[in-house]
């Protein structure tokens, strides 16, 4: 699996060297960073990795969750098979084989919808969650195998900022104590030194050092997030995972905090993994952007390239969905059909294929584009039950404009139509049962009975269509991973879509 996705390893030597020399900010950053080091007199272990080189390398990372933790959690009941009880674990594949790297000094944006696994990925990288498989290399050392004291010591170099600035601050500690706590834990400086550093950090994150003795409740949301920043910075980390750091803040406050984060990145030579669902924020803060869908990274490219030249249909749909703050922008929205499938049993091949508006036609048949588009629409409509029962003629007219596709596909479609249409033999008894149900006095029960056989017919039509078409597509058979030539910037562009084949 991981060879296939190795395309995400964009940090080839030539690439990054070119990047470092074109990036004019880099030298001055480094200089400033060095002076920081002198000022605080603390060890700068990050100097081993030059700017632009991979600081964190993630390879084939997986994180699966057991679904529940009860006595019978491993037991599942399925009456359609014998024996009806099976013992086996259903595991939620929150992060499933992810490979990419984060370069020193950059901000890598990680964007996706809720449930796509982006926060789990962030936490697994920090080893707050135990990875199921894979390698997390930080400065060449594999975090996934570290444990105990070694891991604890390593934690001073990697920090995290959480979404809810309220919940992540202990209300019983003053902000001074909060900021000093990580230094305590890592045995940095003496009492006076810690206080001086805490006050200095307060000033650097844009707070008044005189507020050292105040409690978190006295601060607004934006200010609390600044306290979180100061706390993360106290142990001089190289790498900070920011999990939706500005989502809970108002727009005007959001801008203040984002600007502060960018300034601190320059001052302290930080590397950010910036997790967010808001594409506008991601576009503003990131250097490179990774898009996640259902536990996989579907596209990773330079920010400008990703936003201006998206190649994955999911990225395109995501970008089209954002409401643009411009009333004269009347771009059509590509509305995504359906919902995200369950991560317990994700689709084979490309995970987005069940919703993809550009699912590739199975090669086994001869298709015109129109025939395939019609069949695809019909297949999904049957699967999602988005239309009302109607006659076969109506179905043909509604979905195929009256003419079914030629040859074998046409025959399969015809069979499916027979199953779901109201005027065919196979469906006749279904309709009858349904009508009886409606006329019966105790409506609910009888309708449910009629619905039952209707459901069976629909299910077999769905299975027939999916097995004949969707499962035959290359999208279902192979997991995509392609490296393409970018139009913007010199970075490589990874996209997990077979349209690039």
């Amino acid at each position: 699996m991981s060879e296939r996705t190795s395309g995400t390893d964009t940090g080839t030597g030539a690439d990054t060297n070119a990047n470092a020399s074109t990036d004019t900010d880099t030298p001055s950053d480094a200089g400033q960073f060095a002076s920081e080091a002198g000022q605080f007199g603390s060890e700068m272990s990050g100097e081993t990795v030059p700017y632009g080189e991979p600081l964190v390398e993630i390879e084939g990372l997986k994180k699966y969750f057991d679904q529940s933790s009860g006595l019978f959690s491993g037991v599942s009941v399925d009456t359609s098979q014998f024996p009806p009880i099976s013992v086996g674990e259903e595991r939620v594949k929150a992060v499933d084989d992810v490979t990419f790297d984060i370069r020193r000094g950059e901000t890598l944006g990680l964007v996706g919808e809720s449930g796509c696994g982006k926060s789990t990925l962030g936490r697994t990288i920090l080893r707050l969650l135990e990875p199921t498989a894979g390698r997390i290399s930080f400065k060449g050392e594999d975090l996934a195998t570290l444990s105990g004291e070694d891991l604890r010591t390593k934690r001073s170099e990697i920090q995290m900022i959480f979404q809810d600035p309220q919940a992540s601050l202990d209300p019983r500690l003053t902000i001074g104590q909060i900021i000093e706590e990580p230094m305590h834990a890592h045995g940095m400086l003496d009492d006076e030194g810690r206080e001086a550093r805490a006050k200095d950090l307060l000033e650097r994150v844009g707070l008044d050092p005189h507020h050292y003795n105040r409690y978190p409740h006295a601060f607004s949301g934006g200010q609390r997030q600044r306290v979180n920043l100061a706390r993360a910075l106290s142990v001089n980390p190289d790498f900070i995972v920011c999990d939706e750091p500005v989502s809970a803040l108002d727009v005007s406050i959001q801008a203040q905090v984002l600007n502060t984060m960018e300034r601190l990145q320059d001052e302290f030579g930080l590397t950010y993994l910036f997790i967010a669902h808001d594409l506008s924020v991601i576009r503003h803060i990131s250097d490179r952007v990774a898009v996640m869908y259902l536990g996989n990274i579907v596209e990773l490219a330079d920010k400008e390239e990703l936003f201006e030249n998206p190649q994955h249909p999911y990225t395109e749909a995501l970008l089209e969905s954002i409401p643009v703050p411009d009333p004269r922008e009347t771009g059509a929205r590509g509305v995504l059909e359906g919902e995200v499938p369950s991560p317990v049993d994700p689709p084979s091949g490309c995970r987005f294929r069940t919703r993809c508006p550009r699912l590739i036609a199975p090669e086994a048949y001869e298709w015109t584009d129109e025939e395939w588009a019609q069949t695809r629409a019909f297949m999904r409509a049957v699967k999602r039950r988005t239309f009302e029962p109607m006659t076969a003629a109506e179905l043909r007219a509604d979905f195929f404009g009256g003419t079914l596709p030629q040859g074998e596909p046409g025959r399969i479609v015809e069979e499916a139509i027979e199953l779901v249409a109201t005027d065919h033999e196979s469906a006749a008894e279904v309709t009858q049962a349904g009508q009886q149900g409606e006329t019966a006095t105790d409506g609910g029960q009888a309708t449910a009975g009629g619905g039952q056989s209707r459901v069976v017919a629909w299910n077999s039509a769905t299975t027939l269509l999916l097995e004949s078409f969707a499962e035959q597509s290359i999208c279902a058979r192979e997991r995509p991973a392609y490296e393409i030539e970018p139009e913007y910037g010199g970075e490589s562009h990874f996209t997990a879509c077979h349209l690039q084949r």
Partner: protein, 386 residues
């Protein structure tokens, strides 16, 4: 522009009486909603937009109270005060009783869609039965007819296989599907006005897009008017016809959507637009609004935005501008509450600019921002320390 507005709000004031003092959550706002239009109510958290929208249905509970103003809906007075013989304000006689508001207005005439669809649905009843009950009560239909109507409504809002899903419980629905159910519920009695309070804020961006498209479609079909409460200027641009921008309990700008974005008349709206990262282009440097919104318990003197305003002058500390018409567009007024406009006839031009830390470094916003208490002192020029 049709002659009579569907809803007219005049000088509405809602206050909360707390131990710490009186919170003027909504402080004299006026706006109209005409038939078939979507009116935005936009602002940051604490601006008073939710309190304002709930006041329209008299859904304010103690310690909150509507203390002034007039709300007229289709010629009926939802709220109105008059001066009694003893000089005290009392409720006017033509004002609808609580009973009338409950039975005739809420649900039937004005419906609400809330932000969190999980909180608005009862987890122990099936989605269908909740929808059916609502229709049964409000439209006087028999159980069976209401059930059919409920299924039709579910289908109408794009829920696949509505007959089967009728029997399911709210937790079996995704967030987007739940919001669709609430839209179905709101539309079920074919109200003339729907108040949508941040209906897409809790949703993912692709689902948000679906819901916005659905509302657009249904709005054209049923010709329902909407009051769309949101903090997201993107959603405003996408869906609203006219917009009211709220700041600290007041409407500071009111304009058709195109004018609001392209001919902005209030510095707050301007600043808000500048501080947003854009999805459609890369912005190198964000221009945040300095400071935070003060608390409504002790608003600044004069113009409430003056401590954060880049255009503020001495006169702004003194004069409290009302939302006056400064231009007309598409037959609608473009109102703004800022004395820099000539119609106010103030001495803004001659007045001395105030230094608001605009252009100063990043520390200014935060060091001066622990709530409203310090806010007014700070603007007198001092660094606000304890």
């Amino acid at each position: 522009m049709s002659a009579e507005p569907l809803l007219r709000v005049e000088d509405l004031k809602t206050q909360f009486f707390t131990d710490a003092g009186t919170v003027r959550a909504v402080d004299g706002i006026s706006f109209e909603v005409y038939e078939g239009e979507i009116v935005g109510l936009v602002g940051e958290s604490g601006a008073g937009k939710s309190v304002a929208s709930m006041s329209l249905l008299r859904l304010i509970e103690s310690p909150g109270e509507i203390v002034g103003g007039e709300i007229t809906y289709k010629g009926e007075t939802i709220f109105g005060l008059e001066e009694g013989p003893d000089g005290e304000l009392r409720e006017r006689e033509d004002m609808l009783t609580n009973e009338e508001v409950r039975t005739r207005i809420r649900g039937n005439e004005i419906a609400v869609i809330f932000q969190d669809p999980m909180e608005s649905l009862n987890p122990v009843f099936t989605v269908g039965s909740q929808l059916r009950e609502f229709i049964e009560l409000n439209r006087d239909l028999s159980n069976g007819a209401a059930r059919q109507e409920a299924i039709d409504m579910l289908r109408e809002v794009g829920i696949p296989d509505p007959e089967e899903r009728y029997e399911e419980y709210p937790h079996q629905f995704s967030g987007g599907m739940r919001q669709r159910v609430l839209i179905a519920m709101a539309l079920a009695c074919e109200p003339s006005l729907i108040i949508a309070d941040e209906p897409t804020t809790a949703l993912d961006v692709t689902v948000e897009g679906q819901i916005i498209d659905l509302v657009d479609e249904l709005q054209q079909k049923y010709d329902t008017s909407f009051i769309w409460v949101t903090h997201d200027m993107g959603v405003v641009a996408e869906i609203c016809d006219r917009v009211n921008v709220m700041y600290l309990g007041e409407i500071v700008e009111q304009a058709p959507v195109d004018e609001l974005f392209y001919d902005t008349k209030h510095p707050y709206t301007d600043a808000l637009l500048d501080s947003m990262p854009r999805p459609d282009r890369t912005v190198d440097e964000l221009d945040p609004i300095t400071g935070v919104m003060p608390e409504a318990i002790s608003p600044p003197s004069g113009c409430r935005f003056h401590p954060r305003c880049p255009d503020a002058r001495k006169a702004c500390k003194r004069i409290h501008p009302e939302n006056r018409e400064v231009a007309r567009a598409e037959g609608y007024p473009h109102r703004a509450a800022c004395i820099k406009h000539d119609v106010f006839g103030s001495d803004y031009e001659e007045s001395v600019p105030i230094e608001n830390g605009a252009g100063a470094d990043q520390q200014t916003p935060a060091s001066a921002t622990d709530g409203g208490r310090g806010e007014s002192e700070r603007t007198d020029g001092g660094e606000h320390d304890e």
